[in-house]
Symmetry: C2
Subunit: 381 residues, 2 copies
């Protein structure tokens, strides 16, 4: 195993290659975007995902194929899977890319979720809402990410507009959960079934886009999250990194969605865990022994959206490491992130450094928040 084919060439593919190249792995990215930011780390097949010539080149070259995100056409993954080793399998992808299948999967595994129902017409939506009650969220079944393909339903008159806005496509409507916080758990499972879990992170979004993930260590709901994601991993005989987003209500976790790939809420693992999610994903898909997912210190990840702060200003904060993705700045685009690790400091100092980084990232509101004062009393060392 030496040649890794990746569907997609964005920052997730890039960080995968950054983790894999030191292991002696080489990369080829099939990505229709000519500015694919992973391109400098391997060979870029600049073609549509379903291009047969690109498929030929990819499958002849690659020892194993993986993908960086779930919005790649399912048929492409199913077809490639017939020709070359491919992980995670198309069966996991098929479920993850369809919100209805995903919720049905949770239900079949006895994993709690918000109340949900499929809706295919405005009439169905109107009928379903009578039973479910407001507020709720209407989501397209496929192609949703970063808050796209979603509309909040607050009052009955919102329904027709939301239906129009999402393009009258097959949707799922979910009861809006009054959660205390959102967390995610990331796990990796290898071809023999060995499984490692990363510390869960608490996640903060703004405008539907992840802005901040914090790993506080020893989170009181870690075991519950591990047990939940383990069910999914085993159900699919899964190989690779899997991320699961959850809502916490009191002491109970409700599954929101899973992603069969490396995940934005796990970027802190590059510096903050013994083995990063990217390296372990590659180890799993290549059949190499997994590295430890342990993390001994709190860590946080601040997303850089739209624009990049000064690199030296970031480096001046102890424990901060900038990651710039080599993408042009553009409103709402993820152009980089910062990892903060708290190896040497008190929790007060960690919070102060995090606030400084959030300010640089333009997240003044989050910077002013006292994360440690939440009712959940997170366990800091």
């Amino acid at each position: 195993m030496k040649n890794i084919g990746v569907l997609g060439g964005g920052q997730l593919a890039r960080m995968m290659a950054q983790a894999g190249r030191p292991l002696g792995l080489d990369f080829m990215f099939l990505c229709p975007d000519q500015n694919a930011c992973a391109a400098s780390l391997g060979k870029h097949l600049n073609a549509p995902y379903d291009d047969p010539v690109a498929h030929k080149e990819l499958t002849e070259w690659a020892d194993v194929v993986t993908y960086e995100f779930e919005n790649v056409p399912l048929q492409v993954v199913e077809s490639l899977e017939q020709q070359v080793a491919l992980h995670p399998s198309s069966s996991a992808l098929a479920v993850a890319r369809d919100r209805l299948s995903e919720k049905n999967c949770f239900r079949s595994l006895d994993i709690p979720t918000a109340e949900f129902a499929p809706v295919n017409t405005l009439e169905e939506l109107t009928a379903v809402m009578k039973g479910m009650g407001l507020p709720a969220i209407l989501k397209t079944r496929t192609q949703g990410y970063d808050g796209k393909g979603q509309a909040v339903l607050k009052k009955e008159t919102d329904l027709p507009e939301a239906w129009e806005q999402l393009g009258k496509r097959p949707c799922i409507v979910e009861s809006k959960v009054a959660f205390q916080r959102e967390v995610s758990v990331i796990a990796v499972r290898d071809q023999k079934g060995e499984t490692f879990f990363y510390p869960i992170t608490e996640n903060h979004h703004r405008e539907g886009i992840l802005r901040l993930s914090i790993n506080r260590l020893n989170d009181p709901v870690q075991d519950q999250a591990n047990a939940t994601i383990r069910k999914i991993l085993e159900d699919f005989n899964y190989v690779g990194v899997l991320a699961l987003e959850l809502f916490q209500v009191e002491d109970q976790l409700f599954a929101n969605e899973f992603a069969p790939r490396v995940h934005n809420t796990g970027h802190w693992t590059i510096e903050g865990a013994q083995t990063s999610q990217f390296e372990n994903h590659l180890r799993a898909v290549c059949g190499l022994p997994l590295g430890s997912s342990q993390s001994e210190n709190p860590a946080a990840m601040v997303n850089l959206i739209s624009r990049l702060p000064d690199e030296n200003q970031i480096r001046a904060v102890p424990g901060a490491t900038p990651h710039f993705y080599g993408k042009a700045e553009k409103p709402k685009r993820k152009v980089g992130h910062i990892t903060l690790t708290g190896d040497d400091c008190t929790m007060e100092e960690f919070d102060k450094r995090l606030a400084a980084l959030l300010q640089m990232a333009g997240e003044s509101q989050l910077a002013g928040q006292k994360f440690l004062d939440t009712a959940l009393k997170p366990q800091f060392p």
Copy 2:
């Protein structure tokens, strides 16, 4: 800066490439060894160091050239330096590869060393020893490493044999220092003169080969070591990573030798420091901003000489990361190393884990040693 040419293709070049490829850098190695273990991480020019065809290919392709060790021919470095950006400069290399120039350099910078004298004939050696007294060490001026090119002089009758053994070449003879321990300091300096120092390590050799380096943090002689290496860095207007080996006698450090390159006693920085020596060396030679050299936890590096233990056995020790160089096993050959970081444990536990790793590495004598009981009372957190 994207294309990095490296003279040498051994494990130092390999780890440099492992650090550089995630940054988007590509590598070409000029190395006469057809089994160069760095070859899988770039293009391998399998040719003698002075091959003009290889030089043409290297200088046309590379944006900057560096070297992995100081036994590359000086003329080659001087010639390449005329054609392409090259760091560290040939002036630093010229001094480092000749033990006499090196000692004279220390002397000119008011850096304490053992007593020394150049000797070019057996008669000179005999005459010099009358003044210097035994025990002493005879060393060839060039081409010495891992204990090669050295002979210990214990009694007067050792002189002729030692002289024969080293090939009657220009030598330097040094008074043998009764030191308490050997330490090394590694620093990196960029093109603007910004300088970062890594925590010093205490080093343990056997049969002239480094077996173990320990970074205990807050070492009482850190400041003295930093001030010493800073003199050398500034004297050469140095760019890149520099390593300095020192003997400690009571509270005083005596310079032994320096290496204008990444160094075996700094391999722990891959896991143990915010930015590894390999990444910072590349950052310096490419003109990128340096990363922090800070280290928040004790760390150790166990060399794997001659043979490799089982990878999973190493990974079972918390905080241990195996590095296998992809070289065939062979007596006295460096085939890998293990880093141990002590993020989560007491010093007793750290010592226990280190002892287990030393056992795996076949260093049973070092495994039995109580490093923390030394008279120096190192400062553990």
